[in-house]
Symmetry: C2
């Protein structure tokens, strides 16, 4: 694919839109809002499979993330109904994070994304 300046052998703009992506754009914004941020997807992938992870587990699993970001993203996803927060009040505090059913249902879609990335031409 030589990016610029090919002589154009393209033809008919007579192709009708079969997908109306524009109308979908509204939902797109919502998805972006809920999943954007450097860490949301990374966290989600660590939670898939119904696992319950403690705050410190996640910190260890994602060494590059700061506490501030970890808690912030977790809280946002909790507010969005994607992750659950389970507090055990005991002397050394223990909090476990997991996925709601709805959050877990995101797994296939994200997996598809992964497969897509893996299928990149010129591997």
């Amino acid at each position: 694919m030589t990016s610029t300046h090919e002589e154009v052998g393209y033809l008919p703009p007579s192709k009708p839109v079969e997908h109306t992506p524009i109308s979908a754009a509204s939902g797109v914004e919502e998805v972006i809002r809920m999943l954007e941020g450097r860490w949301k997807l990374v966290i989600l992938f660590h939670l898939f499979g119904g696992k319950l992870l403690r705050f410190s587990d996640l910190e260890r699993a994602i060494p590059a993330i700061s506490q501030k970001m970890l808690i912030q993203q977790l809280r946002q996803m909790e507010a969005d109904g994607i992750v659950t927060r389970l507090v055990h009040h005991q002397v050394p505090p223990k909090v476990e994070y997991g996925l709601t059913d709805w959050g877990q249902s995101l797994c296939p879609s994200l997996d598809a994304l992964l497969k897509w990335a893996a299928a990149r031409p010129g591997s």
Copy 2:
């Protein structure tokens, strides 16, 4: 904030991980890198369906985006092999953007994301 403190009636962590999301984490970063940014997905959704849109078409379709962001995101996706850039050298310049086959193959996955968002409990 008492959003918390359920007494924990959670049971068996006997659920074996059936998905090994951690190993997937590597690919996740890649996906994020390619799709992140305020506008990438929005642009993509306007390009799905095999449509070729001119720069000005996209500007009109996404009024909130600035020229700078539009061209920047398009270029990045072009570099990633997601979008194509078709230059017609004629007196009033004309450039059309579309999707590569690989880029087009992202459509089902993103659609799944949309459906997921639409299925949010408490609609």
